[in-house]
């Protein structure tokens, strides 16, 4: 489906809500703003409820019998299991501080994309079905009954939230819409309401170890294909190991890096770095075909599914007998690692305290989970002068940095990537205040929403980020948007093409790889993308 031109879309932004009360405006499911539903196969594979073929545009969603009860009981159960959920249902005062913080609201003007209303969609059910005041006073107490129409509305808008948590930092009570959305989607999945773009990767990941369903031999092939490319560029071919028992470190990264440009260049960056560390310091890092996915679309499905998919990382680390785990550049993968992994699948007592074998640095901040972010790993190497870098190879790059939501608002990972960037490139410009660090904007396609069919809402949601990029592009001629998230790399590419043509997207380790001088390399002509290196144009 073709979408509007950027200037038309921009002109059409209207933040004025309709006059009618929001409870009287049923959701109008618009093509371009929703993702297709999942077919039965992926659900059957992982044993999720109500597998069937269904279409959100149909009137009949083929809901299971007694679905209202399933949702209400599920809600009750979760109110007891998650204090966060219970408090967030009870204490919102609708002060509106969050209202204009959501990228989907800023770009679409759809009032139900205001975080407060997104939460109210569920809160009204909580009040109407589970509190005495709401049961008696109904709408006067802000309560609604759970009807099919309301359910459709929740599905529609809970798959227009990318769980980026930007609203939550402005909330005076710390109400985290991401947690509400996570639980909302978990409830929807109880009766088989999902989207294909999440359900399929979940099933793939369960079976093959990664979202894309890449089987072990193909995974190895793809990485070796990158190694061939690297050989062409450097004259040296890295030789990564796979599933190697007794390696020092297990490396896990999102499979998006193995599969889709420009993530693939980031992946080449990892391979170059690991080769360098092996040659110079004898560090043995292995890749796993079984735990070949850092991302975890279970997070967008249910807590249980998140745990089922995440379990592979520790299981594989244990099987291979590595000392600790190194994680690639990925957003929600790191949210899962930082906030859930140790609690769900730990304690990781079979691993060692993560210490960089090269610098001796103890990663105290990862002492329990025993998983280190590759950016902090590299930052430490650079700080200790262990990498032989030639910044000038990135002289064509005028970069800015996109704080990916999850490392930013799920970890507080701000200075490490900036430190690395400043050591591998000359020109770096921050985007304007209010759009970076803890106030960063989503790429528009996080939390499993980076599908093709919802392009319109992705471009709308991507606008705040793109607009900040446009600012530094116009002012400082920035031509590269760096980030540390695989979903970002995929969605931002389309998003900047739409809003800010002329800017490219890359991972931080692409720039690290390109700047790294491999021992014994031949004279290089091109960068990782095959483009001529600066200074080589005339020859």
């Amino acid at each position: 489906m073709a979408i509007q031109k950027p200037d038309t879309m921009f002109k059409n932004i209207d933040h004025k809500p309709p006059r009618k009360d929001w409870m009287d405006v049923p959701a109008d499911i618009k093509p371009g703003r929703y993702c297709y539903a999942a077919g039965p196969e992926p659900l059957e594979y992982v044993g999720m409820p109500n597998p069937r073929k269904w279409d959100p545009l149909d009137k009949d969603w083929k809901l299971p019998e007694n679905w209202e009860n399933t949702i209400i009981t599920g809600m009750k159960e979760r109110l007891e299991k998650y204090r966060s959920f219970k408090i967030f249902m009870d204490i919102c005062v609708r002060c509106g501080a969050c209202a204009d913080k959501c990228h989907y609201f800023i770009g679409s003007g759809d009032p139900k994309n205001m975080p407060v209303l997104r939460a109210e969609l569920l809160r009204s059910i909580y009040r109407g079905e589970l509190t005495t005041a709401g049961q008696i006073l109904g709408r006067f107490a802000g309560g609604r009954k759970l009807t099919e129409e309301v359910l459709k509305e929740i599905w529609y808008y809970y798959y227009q939230c990318s769980e980026c948590r930007r609203c939550s930092i402005f909330c005076p009570y710390g109400i985290d819409q991401a947690e509400i959305t996570i639980i909302g989607r978990e409830l929807l999945n109880l009766i088989g309401l999902n989207i294909g773009w999440i359900a399929q990767p979940v099933a793939n990941c369960y079976r093959t170890g990664n979202h894309l369903g890449i089987q072990p031999h193909a995974f190895k092939d793809m990485l070796e294909f990158f190694c061939d490319d690297i050989e062409e560029i450097y004259g040296i071919k890295p030789e990564p190991t796979f599933n190697k028992v007794g390696a020092d470190i297990l490396f896990v990264t999102p499979s998006g890096d193995v599969f889709a440009d420009p993530g693939t260049y980031t992946c080449m960056g990892y391979l170059i770095l690991f080769h360098y560390l092996k040659e110079e310091y004898g560090l043995d890092i292995t890749w796993s075909t079984y735990a070949s996915e850092g991302g975890n679309f279970g997070l967008f499905t249910s807590h249980e599914m998140m745990k089922r998919l995440n379990a592979k990382m520790y299981m594989e680390a244990k099987r291979l007998g590595v000392k600790w785990i190194l994680g690639g550049e990925c957003g929600h993968m790191w949210r899962v690692i930082h906030q859930y992994m140790d609690t769900m699948n730990g304690p990781a007592d079979f691993l060692e305290m993560p210490i960089s074998p090269i610098t001796g640095t103890r990663f105290e901040n990862a002492s329990s989970t025993k998983m280190v972010h590759i950016v902090e790993f590299t930052a430490d190497l650079i700080k200790n002068g262990k990498l032989n870098l030639n910044k000038s190879r990135n002289a064509n790059v005028r970069a800015t940095y996109h704080d990916s939501c999850n490392p930013a608002r799920g970890m507080g990972f701000f200075d490490e990537p900036r430190y690395v960037l400043n050591n591998v490139i000359d020109t770096f410009h921050e985007m304007p205040q209010g759009t970076t660090k803890e106030q960063t904007f989503c790429c528009g396609g996080g939390s499993g929403l980076n599908a093709g069919e919802n392009e319109e809402i992705r471009m709308m949601g991507g606008l705040p980020r793109a607009n900040a990029v446009k600012f530094v592009h116009d002012k400082h001629d920035v031509n590269m948007l760096s980030c540390i998230c695989a979903i970002d790399r995929a969605t931002l590419t389309a998003m900047v093409d739409y809003w800010v043509p002329g800017v490219q997207v890359c991972g931080v380790h692409e720039l690290v790889g390109n700047a790294l001088i491999l021992p014994g390399e031949h004279e290089r002509e091109t960068d990782l993308r095959g483009e001529t290196l600066p200074g080589k144009e005339e020859e």
Binding site: H15, P17, Y82, D90, Q215, N365, S368
Partner: protein, 342 residues
Amino acid sequence: MKAIYSLFLVFALILLAMIGAGTLGMEYLFGVIIPYLAVLAFVVGFMLKVIGWGKSAVPFRITSTCGQAKSFPWIKENKLENPSSTWGVIGRMFFEVFLFRSLFRNTKVEIHDGQRIAYSSSKWLWLFAILFHYTFLVIVLRHMRFFTEPVPYPFVLLDRLDGMLQIGAPVLYISSLIILAALFYLLLRRLLIPSMRYISLPSDYFPLFLIIGVVITGILMRYFLKTDIMAIKELSMGLVTFRPVTPEGIGVIFFIHLFLVSVLLFYFPISKLMHMGGVFLSPTRNMTGNTRMVRHVNPWNYPVKVHTYDAYEDEFREKMVEAGLPVVKPLEEKSENAENKE
């Protein structure tokens, strides 16, 4: 419409007190029984609600990370906005609870021509919210002069400070002016800003109108429709010493004031006003963010079905061997116990 319903409701409550305590002379009901029940409902209701929250587990440690996390010694950690220690959490909670830190961050989005989006600082809500809450506190504390004998010096001092402008007699309280201004700001933004009007519920207008009612009846009683303050003190002291009396000569305005306060107390535990307790228990702000450093235990963590490596190798062994990937079991043998395990 939602605002008008709520306004009518408050008027109805006023009328009820007027008829009840005034016309029908049910002073004991409005002056003793209802206030007692209201205090009981408030204290017990509040505590039950908090205990109810306490009964829910905190399975994960998901804090809002609004600053640099603890990292290398050479990276400056933001100890308040992303605390890794208990002291940091205490500091963060102090700023949240007493200074409304997060609201202070508030920005406003503006869409400009030429495809430009701007974000500007917007602190009005913070300002009026903090003015409202603190003057409300001052007013409550000031009222302690009716509930203590002799009145402890801090309350006397507070009263003098509040009246230090010495305008008129009885002297004008600064807090009366500020709280009215703040309440009307909070009300008008809901009524006039379209998006605020859209998200507001009757349960947002009702407490506003109710508190405005309490404030206005209080002001009327102090400055305009005066009544015998000594008799009121006798009543209030009777209440708190459990020797309830309803002395002669108390004007109906007092009973309206007291009834609206009672309704506020009843309403408190079942409403959004519980944010007073919730702000302390909100899991995103009252915990450390060092989840990778210190393991958080989920009390209801349960085993799940996972896809084991053995099951994985069984499915792909042939392809793995062909691709030169190491396998645990050679091709011929099929693993026997490679079922998916719990």
